[in-house]
């Protein structure tokens, strides 16, 4: 199968799965007494509708090609960083540092990925931003809670820009015998990790009993976690044919990124809890903000990138 044909088939399958989910959601709504409404079912419908949009946008980006994918993830980073900084407390003296984040480090990171410059995009934010941002913050002449503010800005840039940029960075890897098919690695990563979120939600709603850590995320249950991670690991193993891995390697990689992804959502929940909010934003109906949707991806993308780079590229 040609790379284009593979992508076409995968998206066709995902749209078919969405059609089935929409069908189930319609039946669930219809089985409800007429006139009655259920918050859970309405939320389910909103979530599925949003998935149609998200998969649609992803499909357009893949159809455009490498440029489309890089621009899409650049915009995702932009929105995520916006939501993150909007909820974190910075002071007037941080204005200059924030300008650097939005108007320099974010675009430059993605330009470096577009130019396949691994040596620089892998250290731009951990080294240069890490040292330059606190310097520019000191120029704001405000020492109050300085370490805390510098840490928050650096953290936001790491999660929202550096980590997420490792999704399109998969296109820069040179894997012998896999030329021209790198976009399939993105599909593998996104499908595995996002389906893990979906399966955790479904398992949790159906069988969830034991709360994992109510102080951090009241909706996460042990049953949801185990059921969700195992189901999407099985899905990842079944997708081995579109990756450079064999079946058991695909299962192991999927298990790793699912677990890391789960903890990504967990860590970002802790931040939300600390700030006293439930969601990062309101961009995606039923899901919350952009960062609510990509929290697991942001943690698993760099790990996945380096696993593939170390053993396969």
């Amino acid at each position: 199968m040609s790379p284009d044909q593979t992508l076409f088939n995968v998206f066709a399958a995902v749209f078919a799965a969405l059609a089935v989910s929409s069908g189930i959601a319609v039946v669930l709504k219809w089985r409800l007494a007429p006139g009655a409404s259920s918050a859970v079912i309405d939320n389910l419908n909103a979530r599925i509708n949003a998935w149609w949009w998200m998969v649609g946008v992803l499909a357009v980006a893949f159809w455009i090609g490498e440029g489309g994918i890089i621009v899409l993830f650049g915009l995702i980073s932009f929105q995520a960083l916006r939501e993150y900084i909007s909820l974190t407390h910075t002071r007037r003296g941080d204005h200059r540092a924030l300008m650097w984040c939005f108007f320099f480090f974010l675009p430059v990171q993605y330009v470096l990925i577009a130019s396949h410059w691994y040596g620089l995009f892998s250290i731009l934010i951990p080294v240069y931003a890490f040292l330059l941002l606190p310097i520019s913050a000191t120029l704001g002449s405000d020492a109050e809670r300085f370490l805390e503010r510098a840490a928050k800005v650096q953290w936001g840039l790491m999660i929202c820009v550096y980590c997420i940029s490792h999704v399109p960075a998969l296109l820069t890897l040179e894997i012998p015998g896999f030329e021209g098919r790198n976009a399939q690695l993105i599909i593998f990563l996104v499908l595995t990790v996002q389906s893990s979120d979906v399966f955790q939600y479904v398992w949790g709603k159906l069988f969830g009993k034991r709360k994992l850590a109510p102080a951090i995320s009241p909706s996460k249950t042990l049953e949801g976690l185990v059921g969700g991670v195992l189901t999407s690991t099985a899905l990842g193993a079944a997708l081995f044919w579109m990756t450079p891995f064999n079946a058991w390697q695909a299962a192991l990689v999927a298990l790793t990124i699912n677990i890391v992804g789960f903890f990504g959502g967990f860590v970002l929940s802790a931040i939300k809890r600390d700030r006293g909010v439930k969601d990062w934003g309101t961009l995606i109906e039923g899901h919350g903000g952009m960062l609510d949707r990509v929290d697991s991806i942001s943690f698993s993308a760099p790990i996945f990138f380096h696993i593939v780079r170390y053993w396969w590229a």
């Binding site: 916006r82 407390h89 007037r92 924030l98």
Partner: protein, 206 residues
């Protein structure tokens, strides 16, 4: 015509830049005679309050602005007088000049609502400065008017005083419960009550 177009453009730009999201927590966006009073950290403050109102209300809502800052001629003056149709008041009124409270009351009498920043100036620090007494005198001369607190979150960070380039953070506007002057309420009681109502809308400090 060009003023209307420019106003629309500016509103959409403000919405795009700040993703401004109004939360009507204590009241609904209705056409009633109101004074929206908000915290003040940025020149964009009245633009986002204005942009957050539904267009039908926007046409009948005028910001109150300091004449000393805006009436220096040129673009600034055109913007504030023609586009925003602001009520321009002298923040240090002299004996012979127009009375600011009367100017605001006149605008209310013609059935226009107002956007007011009772701190009197942009606040460079955290939370809220003490309110100037104008809001009380206005309530006293127009007791039937509803005073709606509006907490503007984040705009001061988008474009703090002295900054040239805005940072695209998301802003939230929380509209609280309308207040009216009680029959036997004193000046300091009313100022405390309105300031307290506004502070209550602020997110927890950290």
């Amino acid at each position: 015509m060009i003023e209307k177009l420019f106003a629309l453009l500016l509103c959409n730009f403000a919405k795009l830049l700040t993703g401004v999201r109004p939360l009507w927590q204590g009241c609904a966006p209705e056409r009633r005679l109101r004074v929206y009073f908000a915290n003040h950290r940025s020149h964009g403050d009245f633009v986002v309050v204005w942009a957050a109102l539904p267009p039908a209300l926007r046409r009948h809502t005028r910001p109150v602005a300091g004449a000393d800052y805006w009436l220096k001629g040129g673009f600034k003056t055109w913007l504030i007088t023609r586009v925003f149709n602001a009520v321009l008041i002298d923040r240090r009124p002299q004996q012979h000049g127009p009375n600011p409270v009367e100017q605001m009351a006149d605008a209310l009498r013609t059935n226009d609502s107002l956007i007011l920043f009772p701190e009197g100036t942009r606040n460079l620090g955290e939370d809220l400065l003490p309110f100037k007494s104008g809001i009380y005198h206005l309530a006293k001369s127009m007791p039937q008017v509803e005073f709606v607190p509006v907490w503007i979150e984040n705009l001061g960070r988008v474009m703090p005083k002295g900054a040239m380039v805005p940072v695209p953070l998301l802003c939230t506007l929380t509209f609280g419960c309308p207040l009216t002057l009680q029959p036997d309420e004193t000046k300091s009681e009313f100022l405390d009550r309105t300031r307290g109502a506004l502070l209550e809308l602020a997110p927890p400090a950290n």
